[in-house]
Point group: C2
Chain length 434, copies 2
C-alpha cells in the first residue's frame, strides 16, 4: 500500500491538535486519503515540555535541518508562525520537493507571491485552509464550489479575539480593558494582543480572501484599517438604540469602479446573520452573482478546529486535489485586470462618528457646517450633555451617523473637526452596514 510521510514544524497549540488527529485518527485519515499518512517527525525548539498527546519514539526532534533534508518526507506542515524563519522554512521545503501546508496568514499576506512562485517553480503546492477562519472551510468554498460566481462582496468576522472582546463589552457592559483581560485569561488573546485588536490580523486574512475571491493581489499594509481599541461601552448603547450591533468586519466589496477593501468596527443591522456571531466564533458572508448570499460560521481558532483544516489540507494534498486547485487558481499570480482597487478616498458608505464637543451656543452650527462643506449628509444625531455639565463645563458627547458618502470627504471633515478648538480629543469612527 502507498503511504505518505509528513513532518510537522512547530509543536504548539495547533501542532498538538494536528498530531492528535494524525496519530489518534490514523485510520480515518488513511481512509479519506486512500493511503496511510505517517507523521514521522515533529520539529520544535522545545522538546522538553509535555504536550497533551502521546508520540511514538524518535518523532519529536529539534534537529530541523535533517528533517528538511529527509528525502522520505513528502509533506511539510509549517505551524511556527511569523514571517522570517517560517518563510525560510517554507522556501527550503519547496526546494527540497515537499508539498507545504501552512496555517500562517501573516506569512501568506506578506510573502504570498514569492512563496507561490517558488512552489510553481518546483512543481509543488501550498495549502492554507487553516490560515483564515480556522475550521470553517471558506477558502475551499471560494476556490472550488463557488467558482461559477463573480463575487460581489465578502463580509467577514475573522478575528475571534476582537469578536470575543466586543461580545463581552456588549453583553456584560464590560470595559474594553477588562474584556481584554478576560480574553487573555481564557487564552483567546495573547499577552500582547496588538495584532488582533488593531486589525492587523484581520487585514492579513482579508488579503487572502481578496486574492481567492477576487484575484486581487494587494499588499496587506495598503489595506485601510481601524482597530477596536477606541470602542467604548456607550457605543454599544447607541448602536443598539439605532438597531445595530458592533463587529470588527473585514470587507471586500466590488462596485462598478473597483474593489473596496477595509477592516473596521462596523455597526451591523441586528437582522444580519453577522450580527449574531458571538464570542470567539468567526463567520463569513459571501455574495455571488449566481448563488446570492452564502453564510459560513464556525470556530476560527483553537487547537482541534484549526487542526481540522490542516489535516483536511493534508488529505487534499495526498489525493492530488490541492495540486489541481493550486494550478487552476494561479494564486498570487498576476493581479486580475478586472479588479482595480479603489483608493480609500473613493470608498462609499455610511459612517458612525463619536466625539466630544463644547456644549455652548454655535458649536453645533459649526459642526454641521463642516459636514456640509465636505458633502457629508447627516442621517442621525444624538447629543448627550453630561449630568454635571453646568457645574463643570464638561464637553458633550456627540454621536452621529452619516448618509452614504465618499470617504475622502468624510476624512477631510474629520480632520477639520479635530482641528477645531471646540472639539476635544479625536473623532472615533466606525462603518455602518445596512
Amino acid at each position: 500500500m502507498k503511504m505518505t510521510n509528513a513532518a510537522l514544524f512547530g509543536f504548539g497549540t495547533i501542532g498538538t491538535g494536528v498530531a492528535k488527529i494524525l496519530l489518534n485518527n490514523a485510520d480515518r485519515v488513511a481512509n479519506a486519503a486512500g493511503q496511510s499518512v505517517n507523521l514521522v517527525k515533529i520539529c520544535d525548539k522545545d522538546i522538553a515540555v509535555k504536550r497533551d498527546v502521546v508520540l511514538p519514539p524518535d518523532v519529536l526532534t529539534d534537529g530541523i535541518d535533517a528533517v528538511i533534508n529527509d528525502p522520505n518526507i513528502q509533506i511539510g506542515i509549517e505551524l511556527i508562525g511569523g514571517t522570517t524563519f517560517a518563510k525560510d522554512l517554507v522556501l527550503r521545503l519547496l526546494e527540497k520537493g515537499k508539498n507545504v501546508i501552512t496555517a500562517n496568514k501573516a506569512l501568506l499576506a506578506q510573502h504570498g507571491r514569492e512563496l507561490f512562485e517558488t512552489a510553481r517553480k518546483y512543481g509543488k503546492t501550498i495549502a492554507f485552509e487553516a490560515a483564515v477562519c480556522g475550521g470553517i472551510p471558506i477558502l475551499n468554498a471560494l476556490s472550488t464550489a463557488l467558482q461559477a460566481n463573480t463575487l460581489q462582496s465578502v463580509n467577514a468576522i475573522v478575528n475571534g479575539t476582537s469578536n470575543y472582546i466586543l461580545s463581552q463589552m456588549e453583553s456584560g457592559g464590560t470595559s474594553y480593558q477588562d474584556a481584554v483581560k478576560q480574553a487573555q485569561k481564557l487564552g483567546y488573546a495573547e499577552a500582547n494582543p496588538a495584532m488582533d485588536v488593531d486589525g492587523t490580523d484581520a487585514v492579513q486574512k482579508l488579503t487572502i480572501l481578496a486574492q481567492l475571491g477576487f484575484g486581487a493581489a494587494v499588499n496587506w499594509q495598503d489595506v485601510s484599517r481601524i482597530g477596536i481599541e477606541a470602542v467604548e461601552s456607550l457605543d454599544f448603547h447607541y448602536a443598539n438604540e439605532l438597531g445595530y450591533r458592533i463587529k470588527l468586519l473585514a470587507v471586500a466589496e466590488r462596485s462598478d469602479d473597483g474593489l473596496e477593501l477595509h477592516v473596521s468596527p462596523t455597526l451591523v443591522k441586528t437582522d444580519n446573520l453577522l450580527a449574531a456571531v458571538n464570542g470567539a466564533f468567526n463567520a463569513v458572508r459571501v455574495i455571488g452573482d449566481a448563488v446570492g448570499p452564502v453564510f459560513f460560521h464556525g470556530l476560527g481558532a483553537g487547537s482541534l478546529p484549526t487542526a481540522s483544516a490542516v489535516v483536511g489540507d493534508v488529505i487534499d494534498t495526498v489525493l492530488g486535489r490541492t495540486a489541481i486547485t493550486f494550478n487552476a487558481l494561479n494564486l498570487w499570480g498576476e493581479n486580475r485586470r478586472d479588479v482595480p482597487l479603489k483608493k480609500q478616498s473613493e470608498f462609499f458608505g455610511r459612517s458612525y462618528l463619536r466625539f466630544h464637543a463644547e456644549d455652548q451656543p454655535g458649536v453645533l452650527h459649526e459642526i454641521s457646517g463642516i459636514f456640509g462643506k465636505h458633502g457629508i449628509s447627516i442621517a442621525t444625531l444624538i447629543q448627550h450633555a453630561p449630568a454635571q455639565r453646568a457645574a463643570e463645563h464638561l464637553p458633550a458627547v456627540l454621536i452621529l451617523t452619516t448618509h452614504e458618502a465618499r470617504e475622502g470627504g468624510l476624512l477631510e471633515a474629520i480632520a477639520e473637526l479635530e482641528r477645531s478648538p471646540h472639539i476635544t480629543g479625536s473623532v472615533v469612527r466606525m462603518r455602518v452596514q445596512d
Copy 2:
C-alpha cells in the same frame, strides 16, 4: 486550447440558470476550468416556449438520442427530475463515456448505488452538489475540507418550501392552508406540494447527507419522517412561550449505539442559529469531533443559486477534482461498518405533543398514567380550556413536552392515548432540540 463540450437535459428553471452562466459568463467559467466549456446542446421536449436566455442557433433540440450518442460531448447535465426517465438517461450517458452532473436528489436517494456502480464500471463520475441545499457548498465541504473529522451530527433545514410556510405561519399568524397558497403564488411551492410538506424531499436529501457525512447507505423509504401538515398556528404560540421556534429539521445524529436519521418538525431553541433561518433559505449545522460546530446558510433553490452549484460541478469535473473526490469517497459503495443505523424505537430525545382531551375529572390522571406506564417523563404541560367550554362541552387542548426518552415507549404511549375514548382525534408530534 483544450475544450470540453457539455449537453444539458431539461430546460426548466435550473436549466435556464445553467445556460445563462455557461453562455453569458463563458470567460469566467473558462478561466476557472482552465479551458473553454461549450454548452453545445440543450434537450427538452418543449422547444417552443421562450426562456429567459438567448441561445446560439442549433443548440436547443428535442432529439435526445442523437445528443446522448454524440461522441464529441464529454459532460451530460441531468436536470429533468424524477426517477424513471432520468435514471435511464444517466445510465445511458455513463455507458456512452460521459461524466454526469445532476441536481436530482430523488434519483440519487432512490438509485444512488446502481448509478454510482455504473459510473465506476465505466470509469466516469457523477457530481451532485446541487442536489442538496442548492447553492450552499455543503456536499463539497463534507467530501473534502471536513474529511479529517468524524462527524457527530448533521442538523439541516433542507426544504425551502416547508421553511417558507412555517416562517409565514410564525411571523404572520397565517394558517397552514393560506401559507401554502402564498408559497405557490411566489413559486416556492409546486401545484402539488405533497413531496415538500410531507418530508419526502427532506428525507431524500438527508439520505445523501448521511451517505457523504457518515458513509451510511440507507433506503430513503426507511427513514422516519413527519411532515408539517399538522402544524397549527397555536403550536408557534406555545413553542415561543417555551423559548423555541419550529423548523422542519433533517437530522443525522451519531451516538455510541448507532446513527439516528429522521425528519420532523422540531422545536429549535431560539439561540440556535438554525432557529434564525427564515423564508425559503436552507441551512446545515455540522458538528465534527475536531472542527466543532460549523454552520452553512444560503439559498437552497431557485434558478441561479442552484445553477451556481451545477456549474461549480462542471468546473470540478473538467479540472478532474470530481474524479479524485468520487474515487476517494467510494460513494454508495458498501455501508461503513462503524455506522449501524438505529431503529426508530431506539431513538432517544425530547418530544412535543399536542392533542385534545375531554375536559372532565380523571382524564388528566389517565393521561399521566399512560405516559408513566411507558417510561415517559413529562417536562412541561399546558392545558387550555376552550372559552365556551361549559356551554359546549368542547375538549381541552393539551400541550406537553417530554424529558429525554426512548421513542419506542413514546410511540406506544401515543398509540394508547389515541385508543382512549377520552382523547379526540390524533396526537400531533414534533421533536424538541435543546
